[in-house]
Each structure stands twice: as C-alpha cells, then as structure tokens.
C-alpha cells in the first residue's frame, strides 16, 4: 500500500491529447473515484498508472518509488478490467493463483492465500469452475480476488460494475467498499455512474476532455460545483443564465434577482454566468416560504411520480422551466396547471 502521485501526466495519441498534464495525489488507503463522460481519458489514466500504456510525459510515483519507466509486471498493481479479462482456460482458483505463482511463492502459501481471497469475495465454493461457468457478478468477484490476492500497492478498478444489473451493482458496491476498508488499500475506481462514485469514494475527480474539472469530497462537488459541467454531471440541477451584480446577488436575463452564497472561482462578476440550484432544495407550495431568500412564481406543467419523490416541471412567466423534487406526500395537493410559488435558500444557490 502506498501513496500514488501523478505529476504532469500526459498522453497523446498522435496529435490527439487524451490526458492533459494531470497532477494528482492519492493518499495511502484512500478511495478515489474518477468519473467523467465517455472518452474523457479515464481508462487511459488507469492504463498509465498500471504501465500498460506509456505516458507521453510526466511521472508516476508509488510512495517513494518512481515507477514511470517500469513495465506493468514490475509495478505490483491490482487492476480489474472493465470486462474482467479472466483467463478463460483456467479455473477460478488458478486465475486467483496466477499472480502468486508469478511471484514464485511456495505451493502451501499460494493455496492458503487463494483460499482466503476466495473466502473474502464469497466464492470459496466455486474454486474449480471455469470463468464461462460463472455469472457476471461472480466473474467480477473473481477478478477482484485475483487483483487483491497479490497485495498490490494500489487497486485500480475500471468500471467494475457497469456490466451488472442494478441490484447486483448495489450489493457489489458495498462489498468493494468493505473490502477496500478492511485491506486499507489505495484504490482508484473509474466510473461514469455518479451514484457509484458518490457512494464509494472519499474523494471524487471529475474529468472532462482529458482534464480535471474538479477534485473534492462528494459533498464538495455536489454543494459547491466548480463549473456548470460538474454541476450537471453530479446530480440534477436547474440553471438560469445571467450575471452577478453584487457580492451575493445574481440577476437572470429574465430579470429575477436571486441571493447566493457560493460562487465558483471561474465565474467572475463581470462575465455572463449561470445561477444553479438543485431540484430537491426547492420548496413548492401555494404560498411562499418567507424564511427562505429566493422565490419565484410559476405554473405546474407536468408531474412525474418517482416513488420516494415527485418531480414537478414548473414554467415561469419568462417561459424558463425549473425542475422540483418534493416529498411524495405534499401537505397541499398540487395538480397540473396550478399556480405555485417556489422557495429556496441562498445556501442552496451557487453561481458557476
């Protein structure tokens, strides 16, 4: 286990820049999630850390060790590939034992460690099966066992759960989290599922076009997005365009004045920017909530029942639309066509 440090890491494919001057430190034992839309360079970063792809520029350190020039087999990395990439001709036990055999451990030690790794992922009973005789979730666990059994300096997971159904995904997510905590292993998990990232990681990195948009805790990113891209990528958000007119005041193009408390560094007070607020931070009702700083009136256009919450589409007089998520059992029933007032606090309002 070790700290991982990436210094100005860059990858070009011809003239195309897949990863641009990336610097990042992952603390010993930390669980970092790397997320971003398809093609933003997530897999490329993992491949550079594991040595499968050579970095065009920059350095990679595991603890005090500079591994930049090392081939993958000299790096001691546990990598779980998106498609698992199990050895099809080997049994589950042989798959897990492979990395230990490469380290020339003695038979007894290998048997012992393979067994305990399979116990950890709850597959001890399937040791002699071939990968093709396993379900997707079981294959995923074999891949995980194979990666952790070698006691790697870092565990790299490339969309480990994307091929699984929602329920299994939830289960395995918990399992990965538990495993990572108990082993205290430095972990980077690539995903483009924001829910997965929020629930697994202590810190998140949001990538866009090969660059880091923002690094922070899940709540940092959710409450204080550094850009409109992050705000849209993590959770849902309402946005209205306009400009900052005072330290805590924003005027939309349509003339509404909103108070805000958070402004991203990139949104300067002179340039056009956007004010954002999350759908679930808005109160919807016939009367305004005077305790909250921001208000706007509108007409309910559509109502979607979502189970735990209900989604309201509200049309403002300016024809802009806002989305509101409210508890499924409103105090006063609201129907389509009703005139409503929306209220939310200045703390829940950010400018990007």
């Amino acid at each position: 286990m070790a700290k991982i440090a990436l210094e100005n890491l860059e990858k070009r494919f011809g003239s195309f820049v897949a990863v641009e001057s990336l610097s990042l430190e992952i603390a010993d034992g930390e669980f970092l999630a790397l997320l971003g839309p398809s093609g933003c360079g997530k897999t490329t970063i993992l491949r550079m850390i594991s040595g499968l792809t050579e970095a065009t520029r920059g350095r990679i350190h595991f603890g005090a060790r500079d591994v930049t020039g090392l081939p993958p087999y000299a790096r001691n990395i546990g990598l779980v590939f998106q498609g698992y990439a199990l050895f099809p001709h080997m049994t589950v036990a042989e798959n897990v034992a492979f990395g230990l055999e490469m380290r020339a451990l003695d038979r007894g030690e290998i048997g012992h460690r393979v067994h305990s790794a399979l116990e950890t992922v709850q597959l001890a009973g399937l040791a002699s099966r071939l990968p093709r005789q396993l379900s997707g979730g079981q294959q995923q666990r074999v891949a995980l066992a194979r990666a952790i059994v070698i006691r790697p300096d870092a565990l790299l997971l490339d969309e480990p759960l994307s091929a699984l159904d929602a329920k299994l995904r939830q289960e395995l997510r918990q399992e990965i989290r538990r495993l990572q905590r108990s082993l205290g292993i430095t972990t980077i998990c690539v995903t483009h599922d924001q829910e997965e990232a929020l629930s697994l990681a202590t810190r998140l990195v949001v990538m866009h076009h090969g660059r880091i948009e923002q690094i922070g805790t899940p709540s940092d990113l959710y409450e204080r997005p550094a850009s409109r891209f992050v705000a849209e990528f993590i959770g849902k958000s309402n946005f209205l365009d306009g400009r900052v007119v005072a330290k805590d005041e924003f005027v939309t193009k349509s003339g509404f004045v909103f108070r805000f408390q958070r402004q991203s560094a990139r949104a300067s007070s002179h340039e056009a920017s956007s004010v954002g607020f999350r759908p679930e931070k808005i109160e919807i009702g016939r009367a305004r909530n005077a305790a909250l700083a921001n208000h706007v009136e509108g007409t309910v256009d559509a109502i979607t029942y979502l189970g735990a919450t209900t989604e309201y589409e509200v049309r403002l007089p300016s024809l802009e639309r806002l989305t509101v998520h409210a508890g499924a059992n409103p105090v006063e029933p609201i129907g389509i066509g009703d005139e409503v007032t929306l209220s939310w606090s200045s703390e829940a309002t950010f400018v990007v």
């Binding site: 087999y73 001691n76 590939f81 490469m102």
Partner: protein, 272 residues
C-alpha cells in the same frame, strides 16, 4: 406455428438440396470403400462376392508399404516444421506491424494459390540451383522433400493460428502482465493455451495436406522412393484391381480420423 407450417415446403427443399450435396461429395468415397471389398479381379459391377484379400495384397507389396511409411515420416516432419515456423510467424503477423508484413503474409499463403505441379517444378528447379551454387543436394533427398512439405503445410498453420489470435482478447494478456507475468511467461501461460485449439488444428491439417500431396512429391522424391500417393499412381498404370481401392480406403480412414480429432479441439465449421 403458422410460420413454421408455411415454411415447411422451403425446409423440405433445403433438406433435399443438402442431402443431394452430401450424396455428391460422399458417393465417390463410399464407392471406393465398397469396391475395396469386391472379389472381382477387375473393378466391375455387380460384385461377385466380398473379400479382405486386397488389403493383405496391398500390405504385401513393397511399394505400398514403403510408400506408407515414407508418407507418414514426411507428414510428421512437415507437421512439426509447420508448427515450429507457423506459430511464431502467426504471432508476429497478428501482433506486430512491421515493414513487409503484407509481403511476408502473402508469401506464406502462396502455396494455397500456386498449383501443385507448378510449385513442384519451381521447388525442383530451385533445389538444382542451390546445388550448383553450394554443392548441397536437396533435390531427390528426404530433407528436400520434407522442406517442400513444410512449405506446403505452412499456410494452414499460419491461417488457423492467426485467425485464433485475432479472436484473443488482448486485455487477458494485459491482465497477466499486471499480475507479474513478463512477455515470455504471458505467451507461455496465457496466449498459447488460449490458441491451443488452433495449434492442434493447424498441426493436423499440416499432416493431412502433406499426407495426400502428389504433385510436389512427384518432382522431389529420390529415385526408387515413393510416397503413398505416388505408389498409388504408379500401381494404376499397370493394374486396376481393387488393391488400389483398399489403399485408398486406408488413406481415407487415416484422414477422416485426423479431421475428426481436429474437430474435437476446434469446431472446423468456425474456421472456414
């Protein structure tokens, strides 16, 4: 249900045409097999009775016995040679991009395209050239014959193994590397086992094409020596008794066994 009933005439026609195709392909083989048991001295229908005497006769003739042994020898050497050269060649062709890759690939495949007689003549002339330049005799020697058969068998190994390598998931090999396996260990423990069916199939095909080759061998065997196909042709010049059918039956059985064995390792229908 309605669909399958309406499809019924089409299905019957399909099965009939498949059956007809099989008949055309198999009829000569069945005929040879049948004739090899005829008692008649001259192949004629209907048979006057059945006997195993022609098989005994075939084995008692030196030409057939020696031809069989020589064909077996050459076939085995051609198989080994084809694998030893073909597998590394396929690895290089499928995995690396280098100057002249297309040319080498085409050269390795060319024995499939050049007619056997032409290739036989060419190899013979090539051997004579070599001999005049270096004093090394290849024409009319066993090494020369084996070398030609290796070349004849190579395309099969290269083609089967390349096709199989293209289907191998590179990520599996990369997984081996991240687990600590260097390039050689990865090749030995992961890549080769994954393409083993194609290697087995390539070997068996190599054996079969060598075992049945007539045209090239005609030019390259030494005086007085002959492979089994040459012995068959020679014998046909003088007699047309069912001995020839008995020899052909043995040959067919050996080849069928090789193909059935291959099919156990790799579904042949998936290769072509």
């Amino acid at each position: 249900m309605a669909v399958s009933i309406r499809a019924l005439p089409g299905r019957t026609a399909f099965l009939a045409s498949v059956g007809f195709a099989y008949l055309i392909i198999l009829a000569p083989l069945i005929a040879v097999f049948w004739v090899s048991f005829f008692r008649n001295k001259i192949i004629a229908f209907p048979p006057q009775g059945y006997t195993l005497a022609w098989f005994a006769n075939a084995w008692s003739l030196d030409d057939f016995r020696n031809g069989f042994v020589l064909s077996l020898e050459v076939g085995i050497i051609a198989t080994l040679g084809s694998l030893l050269i073909g597998v590394p060649a396929a690895l290089a062709l499928a995995r690396h991009d280098f100057r002249g890759r297309e040319a080498i690939s085409a050269a390795l495949m060319s024995p499939l395209i050049v007619p056997g007689i032409v290739a036989g003549t060419a190899v013979y002339m090539f051997y004579i050239e070599i001999e005049t330049w270096t004093d090394v005799q290849l024409a009319a020697t066993l090494p020369g014959l084996c070398l030609a058969h290796v070349v004849l068998a190579l395309p099969w190994t290269v083609r089967l193994v390349t096709a199989s390598l293209i289907g191998v998931n590179r990520l599996v090999e990369e997984a081996a590397m991240t687990l600590g396996a260097g390039p050689v260990k990865t090749l030995w423990r992961v890549t080769l086992p994954m393409i083993r069916p194609a290697i087995v199939a390539g070997g068996l095909f190599s054996f079969v094409v060598s075992f049945v080759d007539l045209e090239k061998s005609l030019f390259l065997v030494g005086p007085g020596r002959m492979t089994l196909p040459i012995a068959i042709i020679n014998y046909l010049e003088w007699s047309i008794d069912p001995t020839i059918a008995a020899v052909a039956t043995i040959q067919i059985l050996i080849i069928s066994a090789a193909l059935l064995l291959t099919d156990r390792f790799v579904r042949l229908s998936r290769v072509f």
